[in-house]
Symmetry: C2
Subunit: 124 residues, 2 copies
Amino acid sequence: MKHGLSETCHLFFSTLANPARLAILELLRNGSKNVTEIAEGLNQEQSMISHNLQLLYNCGFVFPERRKKERFYSLNKETLEPLFKIFLYHAEKYCPTKGKCLTQNGLRRKRKMAAASPMCLSHQ
Amino acid sequence: MKHGLSETCHLFFSTLANPARLAILELLRNGSKNVTEIAEGLNQEQSMISHNLQLLYNCGFVFPERRKKERFYSLNKETLEPLFKIFLYHAEKYCPTKGKCLTQNGLRRKRKMAAASPMCLSHQ
DNA sequence: ATTTCATTTGAAATATATTTCATATTTCAC
DNA sequence: GTGAAATATGAAATATATTTCAAATGAAAT
């Protein structure tokens, strides 16, 4: 299963494929924040935020900057804004429910009842 | 952890965040193929390919078309080509190793020895 | 140099996704 | 209709990722 793009894209997309990290990225669209502010803003454990920031940093999605004791993280807008733009266009065009949906397991479960409607982009 | 984008992007990115599915997408860049051809082309079980095609279909990344007994799948190039383009640009600019790397766990393990070098986009 | 605040780290516990194997469906040719 | 080919499905087995908790580190103020 090791193939050109498959080999190179996996970490890129799996870093984005997580609700906590997506929430962090979205929060940072409004400007850079330190770790505590992010944790409070999202109502999550600070150490969990740290772990996820590390993964985002490893992929170049956020940039850290030290100010006194704190560490501020800012968004890599160059990559992320066009990425989100593609996603939004795709969702608008291909998601019948316009973003009202389920996880992959949830989706599988639901299709049982409601029979294969293509494309549900979010999770409940 | 339910936040605008977080809520709507998760399935989109997690469907892409898988080596088997990325390999399928890459294979389909050379034109549409039926399930058996994909399975043989990637040297994987047919039923595993089917499962993954279903997920790709649910997200609108591939389009199925019936021809006799077979089912051909083609790529949603409108979404995927720009997406790959963004990825390639990002990797070129932010990945120090230009795509020679590890899974998230592997990366974590490696950073222990080689200390935090940012951005490694692939997996070994 | 001790204390305090902010953040990171490691490893176990937990949650989630993927693959496999056996079986079911679907479609077509006869 | 029966049989054979192509694909799909369900559920268990396996693999992988995430979160949590306790502890460690780092930076600054006193």
